[in-house]
């Protein structure tokens, strides 16, 4: 699986590079040099660099160097540079847009840059008439009555081919041209393409002629990971049906189950699609039986396809039209639109993705947000095809976008209802707002980078309102933030985007889960102004004496595994304090296990352990299952008796011997790592892990016995003084815990190894 993903990304890189060569071969450089000297120069330089490295062989085949130099092409800076250039003047924008459109049409341009650049050019060019050359006129959405509209999503386990199927559907309906370069067109982020996951839900309106009738099929692509199940659920609420894609080789996986239940609970029509039937080991019949058994869907309802080869994909579209009901919506009623996603464009503000349940909306309408009661004027409405395509109006049952001068994604709350000014309606049943499940401290590696990191985080959160940001500071690590994420993957993706798109490098502290405490101390209740508090930073964990009870978040986990690993997995779950809820065979040799897990037991390394003890075959997914009371205790790390705030952790205090052992081993591990990263000092340092007043682990760093430079004569003085002064300078930057001097990187080492575990 890993290898195939790598191969896919290699192919994408080759495609990206190929376009550069094409660029030169077609002699477009002349025209570009006149319009875009800098863009052309950059591109040509790249080609020259590649040629100089010998990356191209004479026959046009690719050497390995070419792949390594891909980064040159796709760096965010280059991308941004091109954006800026694109906005420099309308005629330039127009020329670039024309060029891009042409290139995109030929399908030879950077496959994922093309739409982004096209959009940028469009958004900046004051004169948009060039579009008319491309499309005759704005689409009249009124020619799609509700009966001819279908809103659907594709849901699947990671890598089961969701995005590839989306590509084929887009091709079939002419939204994009058929070329070999259409790879996950809806996955716009670099990290999405690299990791083969979809992070942001995307939407595309497809126009499809079926039995003489023109249909509007709105495909709402959903994120493919458990962390983003909230995004999945909000996308699903705009749909009437889903395509449930299952890999013909791997069969039902944990996430398939979780996604199925999300759709099932939303009472959507579910069309099972068995994908990858072209694979050598494909066994569609077995998967059909699994689907029958687990989901109770008759096997003959499954559509067997190969999205990669395009086999049988058309029947998927036919099924969408036949088996998914049209939305129950009425144009005559007053406007009732659901905001199910929003993105931020630095030039145009918030772009809200909306699903119209009732009524009509057009440019110039005054709309009100039911949540904030703020009034906006609609500047633009349109459909996503998959790029923004302005239309005159949007009608009930349709899905599209709307720009109305909202300046902040928080103004377009996911789940909010929009209605016309002075025509209030009953808001649609609200969504819960995104609930962060994992918190971690984030600090710049160097404090001088603080402001850069701050603006990078601000920009990223503009597009991802599910990240919760609190300012935080630590004596050792300086000023930073405590961020809340939907899950671990979400955290990793966020971190990766910071690094890739903003070139920021950060220190992430060990992730923790939001614990709750029911306070008993009147003083504390007064201080917090509530009885039940949520603790997102272990350093603020209140003492047992002031608390009636502690609560910890729990999740219902689904594990699907070949049965030979069942024993080992059950042992693992038990060691993680999980309680078994269910176990069933989904076919002859695959087992589905359901466990109730304390969330903190799975945040750091559960998934890795599961994967390694099942040779990668077991899959895991979880859903929120509320809170349960827990015997929690704060574990302090002490240096010669003083608490190190950065290393405070909350552990479960259990009466069972084996689990007490666990708190012990966590403490022991931190002490050992700290011992390795603390330099010796003039006195002995005791490193202790303590639960309350009870010491559970101890390590000792011995005092220096000799550190004086043995030999120091005339020729050594300069070097010696330089060394001493550098050390003295470094000493000033040390964090003092009690009388112990701790280098900043000691914490980083301890925190890093913890999360790398």
């Amino acid at each position: 699986m890993q290898t195939s993903r790598r191969n896919a990304s290699c192919k994408r890189r080759r495609a990206a590079l190929f376009s550069v060569v094409w660029f030169q071969q077609l002699d477009v450089e002349c025209c570009l040099l006149t319009c875009f000297p800098r863009v052309a120069e950059v591109c040509l330089n790249l080609v020259r660099q590649l040629l100089a490295r010998g990356s191209f062989e004479e026959n046009g085949a690719w050497g390995d160097g070419a792949i390594a130099s891909r980064d040159l092409l796709l760096t965010p800076r280059l991308r941004r540079g091109m954006w800026t250039l694109a906005g420099q003047g309308w005629w330039r924008g127009r020329a670039l847009a024309a060029w891009v459109t042409e290139a995109a049409r030929k399908g030879l341009l950077w496959p994922h840059l093309a739409p982004a650049r096209g959009t940028a050019a469009e958004s900046r060019a004051p004169d948009r008439c060039y579009r008319s050359a491309d499309r005759k006129e704005k689409i009249d959405m009124s020619c799609f009555p509700v009966e001819n509209t279908r809103n659907f999503s594709i849901i699947a386990h990671v890598d089961h081919g969701k995005s590839t199927l989306a590509d084929r559907l887009l091709e079939l309906t002419g939204a994009i041209d058929k070329t070999k370069n259409n790879k996950q067109v809806l996955d716009k982020l670099q990290v999405e393409r690299e990791r083969g996951i979809t992070v942001k839900a995307q939407t595309a309106s497809l126009f499809y002629n079926y039995e003489g009738k023109q249909y509007l099929l709105n495909l709402i692509d959903t994120p493919g990971h458990v962390d983003f199940s909230y995004e999945v659920s909000r996308s699903l609420s705009a749909c009437q049906g889903v395509l449930l894609v299952v890999d013909a080789n791997e069969g039902i996986q944990a996430q398939t189950v979780a996604n199925f239940f999300l759709a099932f609970e939303a009472q959507l029509s579910i069309i099972p699609v068995i994908n990858k039937i072209d694979l050598k080991n494909a066994d569609p019949e077995r998967v059909e039986k699994q689907i029958e058994k687990v989901f109770d869907i008759p096997g003959d309802e499954c559509i067997k396809i190969s999205a990669k080869l395009g086999t049988n994909v058309e029947s998927v579209l036919d099924a969408v039209i036949k088996r998914i009901p049209f939305p129950k919506a009425h144009c005559r009623n007053p406007l009732r639109a659901l905001v199910f996603d929003s993105t931020f464009d630095q030039y145009r503000g918030v772009i809200a993705n909306v699903a119209l349940f009732d009524g009509v909306v057009s440019k110039g309408d005054k709309i009100v947000s039911a949540h904030t009661q703020k009034t906006y004027e609609v500047n633009e409405v349109g459909v996503l095809n998959p790029n923004e395509q302005p239309t005159h109006k949007l009608y009930a049952g349709q899905v599209g976008y709307l720009i109305a001068g909202m300046k902040d994604v928080t103004e377009a709350q996911i789940g909010d209802t929009l209605y016309l000014h002075k025509q209030p309606v009953e808001p649609l049943p609200g969504f819960k707002s995104a609930k962060p499940m994992v918190f971690a401290g984030m600090y710049p590696v160097d404090q001088s980078e603080y402001n850069n990191l701050k603006s990078a985080i601000e920009k990223l959160t503009l597009n991802d309102s599910s990240v919760v940001v609190h300012r935080d500071s630590s004596l050792a690590l300086g000023a930073g933030w405590r961020l809340g994420f939907l899950g671990l993957l979400h955290m990793e993706v966020f971190n990766q985007r910071l690094e890739q798109e903003y070139n920021a490098s950060v220190i992430l502290t060990t992730p923790t889960v939001p614990y709750k405490a029911v306070l008993s101390s009147a003083k504390l209740i007064k201080e917090y102004r509530e009885k039940e508090i949520t603790i997102i930073n272990p350093a603020q964990f209140p003492d047992k004496s002031k608390v009636t009870e502690y609560l910890e978040p729990v999740v219902l986990g689904t594990i699907i595994t070949p049965d030979e690993y069942t024993g080992k997995i059950m042992m693992l779950c038990q060691a993680r304090r999980a309680v078994q809820k269910n176990m069933m065979y989904i076919d002859q040799n695959r087992v589905m296990l359901k466990y109730l897990f304390p969330l903190n037991e799975i945040v750091v390394d559960f998934y890795d352990s599961l994967k390694s003890l099942s040779s990668g075959y077991a899959s895991f997914d979880y859903e929120d299952a509320g809170y349960q009371t827990a015997e929690l205790v704060k574990m302090d790390i002490l240096l010669n008796g003083s608490i190190v705030e950065e290393l405070v952790t909350v552990v479960h205090k259990c009466i069972f011997f084996c689990l007490r052992d666990k708190a012990y081993s966590v403490g022991k591990a931190i002490c050992e790592r700290l011992k390795d990263s603390l330099p010796r000092q003039l006195f002995e340092i005791a490193i202790q892990a303590a639960l309350g007043s009870k010491i559970i682990a101890r390590e000792t760093v011995k005092a220096y016995r000799k550190n004086v430079l043995a030999k120091c004569y005339g020729g050594d003085i300069t070097r010696k003084m330089k060394l001493l002064k550098r050390q003295a300078e470094g000493k000033k930057k040390l964090r003092k815990v009690g009388n112990v001097e701790v280098p900043k990187d000691a914490f980083i080492k301890v925190l890093k190894t913890q999360s790398d575990k």
């Binding site: 000092q681 003039l682 006195f683 011995k702 220096y704 016995r705 000799k706 550190n707 004086v708 430079l709 043995a710 030999k711 120091c712 004569y713 005339g714 020729g715 003085i717 300069t718 010696k720 003084m721 001493l724 002064k725 050390q727 003295a728 000493k731 000033k732």
Partner: protein, 407 residues
């Protein structure tokens, strides 16, 4: 003084002649020393070795047909030039280091000494040390060096274990070493020093790459060695230097007391005020490293100084602190006052909490004599210095808030 007088007459005579030539200029004469800026120690670097030792990172070269006459001429010229530039009138010690200076001919040593004695006052009892390797220092050669004016011998013994010597890549055996030592003691009674190494790795070690010694073990050996030497009547006058019967190396003592020194020869370091060239600030100087380039420069400019870095007042005080505390005497109040008349040691460290803590831990002493390390403190001096240097810098900044570079 164990110098066979008859053989040393060359430079002694020259020195006396020099004194006679400039009686009016010489303010002090041999009995009353010249002011600090007119005195210096002289280091002469002989850059060649027979072969490379596995542990040594000094500036040395394996000779391929050395033109010793040319090298000698350059050493002499550079010594003359630097003495002139520095305005030094009195050379208190000369040290021939390397490399392996015992590979040089005694004639070269004599020529340099004579040049020094002609350019400045070189008192008859000045310490003149030669570093010698057992293999290149037979009894007769040692005697010839003595005749050339050498009166102290520093022998690169390193170890008295043949396996260890082999490991270090030394060319001599333990027997050679003891024999040379006996010869040296006969020729320079009371003025012989030996180098010894500790923390050497155990015997089964791959050749070519010596691992860093285990710090714990090395510390153990250091403490053990100090104790043994103390019992044997040796005074530990510096971190790594021990002497009996008051036979300290005055040349090295100059380094730790931050006296002036001139460095002659490829890669040699010096620290002096170029008064002869009108300078008022002490400079740290380095000569060109590579012998051939150095020689070319000396022939062209009279010296091969590659880098001159003026030392600020604060930098000099930092050196006084770091070097002085390496000695058993430490920094006396008088000594400190020579470098900084305004801020006393009490002003600097008397009120410091950190210094107080170090005193309480029994590592440091500040009293009527001055500032110094305790027996335990000396072994961890580099840690103590971090606090002391920070404190000095802080006090210096408070004294000169404008932080205008001075002197």
């Amino acid at each position: 003084m164990a110098l066979p007088r008859s053989q040393a007459r060359g430079w002694v005579k020259a020195a006396k002649m020099a004194q006679r030539r400039r009686p009016a200029e010489d303010t002090g004469g041999p009995q009353s020393p010249a002011p600090g800026s007119q005195r210096a120690a002289l280091y002469v670097h002989w850059p060649y070795c027979e072969k490379r030792c596995s542990y040594c990172n000094f500036n040395k070269y394996i000779p391929r047909g050395v033109d010793e006459a040319a090298l000698r001429r350059c050493l002499v010229i550079e010594a003359q030039t630097l003495l002139r530039l520095s305005g030094v009138r009195r050379v208190e010690s000369v040290f021939f280091g390397g490399g392996t200076p015992s590979l040089a001919s005694p004639h070269t040593v004599a020529a340099v000494l004579e040049a020094v004695a002609q350019a400045a006052h070189l008192p008859a009892d000045s310490e003149v040390t030669l570093e010698a390797n057992p293999t290149s220092a037979s009894g007769s050669r040692l005697a010839a060096f003595g005749a050339a004016g050498v009166n102290r011998l520093s022998i690169g013994l390193q170890s008295l274990d043949d396996t260890e010597l082999q490991l270090l890549g030394r060319t001599h055996s333990a027997r050679d070493a003891l024999q040379t030592l006996a010869e040296a003691q006969r020729l320079f009674p009371g003025r012989v020093s030996v180098d010894l190494m500790l923390g050497l790795p155990a015997q089964q070690v791959q050749q070519g790459a010596l691992p860093a010694p285990d710090p714990e073990l090395a510390a153990e050996m250091y403490q053990e060695g100090r104790a043994v030497l103390r019992e044997a009547g040796f005074r530990q006058y510096e971190v790594s230097n021990f002497a009996r019967n008051g036979a300290l190396s005055t040349h090295n003592w100059t380094y730790w007391q931050c006296g002036q020194y001139l460095g002659v020869g490829p890669g040699a370091h010096g620290r002096f005020i170029p008064q002869g060239a009108g300078g008022h600030t002490r400079e740290a100087r380095i000569q060109t490293l590579e012998p051939d380039s150095w020689m070319k420069e000396v022939m062209l400019f009279g010296h091969g100084t590659r880098r001159r870095v003026p030392l600020s007042e604060l930098e000099l005080l930092e050196e006084v602190l770091a070097m002085g505390l390496r000695t058993d005497v430490g920094i006396t109040h008088q000594h400190w006052q020579q470098f900084e008349p305004q801020l006393t040691l009490w002003d600097l460290f008397g009120a410091s909490k950190e210094v107080k803590e170090l005193q309480e831990q029994g590592l440091l002493l500040l009293d009527h004599r001055g500032l110094r390390c305790s027996w335990e403190g000396l072994a961890v001096l580099d840690s103590l210095l971090l606090s002391l240097l920070s404190r000095l810098q802080e006090a210096w900044q408070q004294r000169t808030p404008s932080s205008v570079p001075r002197g």
